[in-house]
Amino acid sequence: MDLELTEDQELFRETTAKFLERTSPLSTVREWAEKEPAGFPADWWRQGAGLGWTSLLVSEDDGGGSVSGHGLLDLVIVAEEMGRGVAPGPLLPVNVVAAALSEYGTQDQRDRYLPDLLSGEAIASWCLTEKGAPGLPSGVGLQATRRGADFVLTGRKGPVEAGAEAEFFVVAALVDGEPTQFLVDADAPGVTVTRAEGLDLVRRFAMVELDDVVLPAAAVLGEAGAGAPQIERLFELAVALECASMAGVIDRVLSFTMEYSFDRYSFGRPLASYQALKHRFADMKLWTEASLATALAAARSVDAKSERAFEFVSVAKSYIGDRAPLILQDCVQLHGGIGVTWDHDLHLYIRRVVQDRALFGTPYDHRERIAQALRLEESHGH
């Protein structure tokens, strides 16, 4: 958690945490996993939207508004709390799309799409990733060809979070080799959405196929061929949210594993009294604090649109993406046999972290971005 939350942000955090505790405790998450096709009831998401979950990255003129004047720093509070409670909900895709519309959309595009997105009535998602390419801005290969004044898109995107629930998508493509983003309605002719299998119990994904989808120029977000900075920006927002989510997960799991080590006895002593285990907890505490620190630094740099954001999100994602799964599996080890059972909640957290780690660039992919930021291959004068 940010150690410098304003009073308003602290209140916002408490409200969010209490709402999640009341409406979606883990027992409910397990129920929704079974019976809710989307992973959550539609009304629940609308209530979350009422708390501000959808509007923090959107300007006030467009019906949005932040708590602190730093929308992303408010939003990562929600992402972290959702990590702590492995909550469902399309927090990441909806906010990325809302930011895309608010920052780059025309008045018509904003009027048409934003109100329902902000109220929680509609869900939307971002189609970046493609099969066979890393989930990075550089992995976009889907071609959009010009046909008269129109554009024609053909190709496959996925996995796309909340793809089956989304009413429309922001699709990253290439026009004449240059990145360009389009707004595509889910029911447009030629769009086929297929549910995908997924590790998380309540966060759902789909594959999106575009077959000769004809779009007017009015569907372009910003200008054709000028989408690279947009895609980078949305990517940074997405990674900052993933990192906050993973940091929330490990913070929560470490603390309940700690409690367990005090309660569980062997050889007449609590597990917490064995130095071999204390030292592992010390390491996990260190990695967790470091994860919280780097997640926040990444969010701050993206919020400030700093030129360091490119590197900082990749530093955070590569660090947390490496550490979080190790911490969780060590927590399983420290629980003993109960840790590998379905009834224990540990696997809910592992599922969440594995997804966060895998999407929008693995640690490996992000280290390659860091190497690029360092301009490693350029030789310097000295």
Binding site: L3, E4, K278, H279, F281, A297, V315, S318, R367, L376
Partner: protein, 433 residues
């Protein structure tokens, strides 16, 4: 311990009214550095420069230039010769100073461990006598803590100080004191009372190093240098006014010293100025592995790119962790011992850094043409564990984190609450002839 009123806590208070604006300071520092400090040469790294200046003569000269220019002791209080500025000013100065030769050897332990401890527990006379001289480069200080009988269990030390009128007579031996041969003063922890539990019989003294009765021997280390020293004390008379803190309450002083030490070796001290490693090409992070990768001509190899990037990420996360822990301690959200977090981070990151360097250096780490960067990495690897031992071993930091941050049960201690003279401990070896 009422740490809330200690002098060094002031560094995180709101800046005093009239404190120079950060950007104005940065510009002024940049111009001053260009006019006054010698630029780093292409051929010698800051680390090599430090090794060449064995006695610290050059460092003292450079510090004097900084002092005369008003750029020394930036975070020390004005009344003791400092500038009373904030961490942010110091960070800006460090960043700006990267292309210049700086007196780096003074950073640890003089500026970041001994001076802050003196600031916290020294008498007014002690502070006025020494801190301005420390800041001007006239005095170098070291710590006399570890003994041949043990370092981790510091409170079991057996160097003896016996009161005799208005002096204490010191007998025994200290070891692993880095840089003592070139230093002027030490803070020395000695046992003044034997019939009480170990923590309650210790006293901290200011000891002038080069004087009759003290013999300093250098110890050759794995990398060929002789930084380490052992001292032998033979009826050394220490004036009673050199006691720091209270007699038999030296543990309180030592605890604070160790706090500053964790901060210093963890990279979080506001009292250091300038950094090793690189010319500030990418912020103030070290660039040795980038240079190494370029020197080996393998910057396009994805394995090499991964390792350099991993090390870069580890370094940045370390800096971000320091900000978090520092903020946590200064706002009371984290307990004081939280400094062990970045101390342990720095040490484990240093180990990983060495491993990566060894991998990047390839065959060159084993045998190299004179002057090759790769060979330097081979030699550095020999001292891989230094950072994990000096300043309290990693195991001690893990004890602190688990017990004093996470609140886990303390380790069983056979000597708990027992008078020290009834407890089994290692004896001090006699002096070699």
């Amino acid at each position: 311990m009422a740490t809330d009123r200690l002098d060094t806590d002031r560094v995180d208070a709101a800046p005093a009214e009239g404190t120079e604006d950060l950007e104005a300071f940065r510009m002024r520092a940049r111009a001053w550095l260009a006019d006054n400090m010698p630029p780093l040469q292409e051929t010698l790294t800051p680390h090599q420069l430090m090794l060449q200046d064995e006695m610290g003569t050059r460092a003292r000269e450079l510090q004097r230039i900084l002092f005369d220019g008003g750029f020394a002791g930036l975070c020390f209080p004005k009344e003791y010769g400092g500038q009373g500025l904030t961490r942010a000013h110091q960070a800006a100065f460090t960043h700006e100073s990267a292309p210049y030769e700086m007196p780096l050897v003074l950073n640890v332990p003089t500026f970041s461990i001994l001076a802050p401890t003196l600031l916290d527990f020294g008498t007014e006379e002690q502070k006025r006598a020494h801190i301005p001289k420390i800041i001007s480069g006239e005095e170098m200080w070291v710590q006399f803590l570890s003994e041949p009988s043990g370092g981790s269990d510091l409170a079991s030390l057996v160097t003896r100080a016996t009161r005799d009128g208005d002096v204490f007579i010191l007998n025994g031996s200290k070891i692993w004191s880095s840089g003592a041969f070139r230093a002027d003063y030490a803070l020395c922890l000695a046992r003044t009372e034997w019939h009480v539990p170990k923590h309650r019989g210790l006293t901290c003294f200011i000891v002038k190093i080069h004087q009759p009765g003290i013999e300093v021997q250098q110890i050759k280390m794995v990398n060929g240098s002789s930084e380490f020293c052992q001292e032998f004390f033979d009826d050394v008379a220490i004036p009673a006014e050199n006691v720091v803190g209270e007699v038999n309450d030296g543990w309180t002083v030592a605890t604070r010293l160790l706090y500053h030490e964790r901060d210093a070796v963890g990279g979080g001290s506001p009292y250091t100025s300038g950094v090793f490693g690189g010319r500030g090409e990418h912020g103030s992070g070290r660039t040795d592995l980038i240079d190494l990768a370029r020197a080996t001509g393998r910057t396009g190899d994805s394995h090499v790119r991964q390792l350099v990037a991993e090390s870069r990420a580890n370094d940045l996360v370390g800096a971000q962790l320091i900000s978090r822990v520092t903020k946590g301690i200064s706002t009371g959200k984290f307990p004081g011992p939280a400094g062990s977090l970045h101390r342990l981070y720095a040490a484990t990151n240093a180990e990983r850094h060495q491993d990566i360097a060894l991998e990047l250096a390839g065959a060159g780490a084993g045998a190299w043409a004179e002057g090759d960067l790769a060979g330097e990495k081979g030699i550095e690897f020999l001292s891989r564990q230094s950072g994990s031992l000096g300043g309290g071993s990693n195991e001690m930091q893990r004890n602190i984190i688990s017990e004093r941050i996470l609140g886990m049960p303390r380790e069983y201690a056979a000597d708990k609450d027992k008078p020290f003279d009834e407890v089994r401990h290692n004896a001090s070896p006699s002096r070699p002839r």
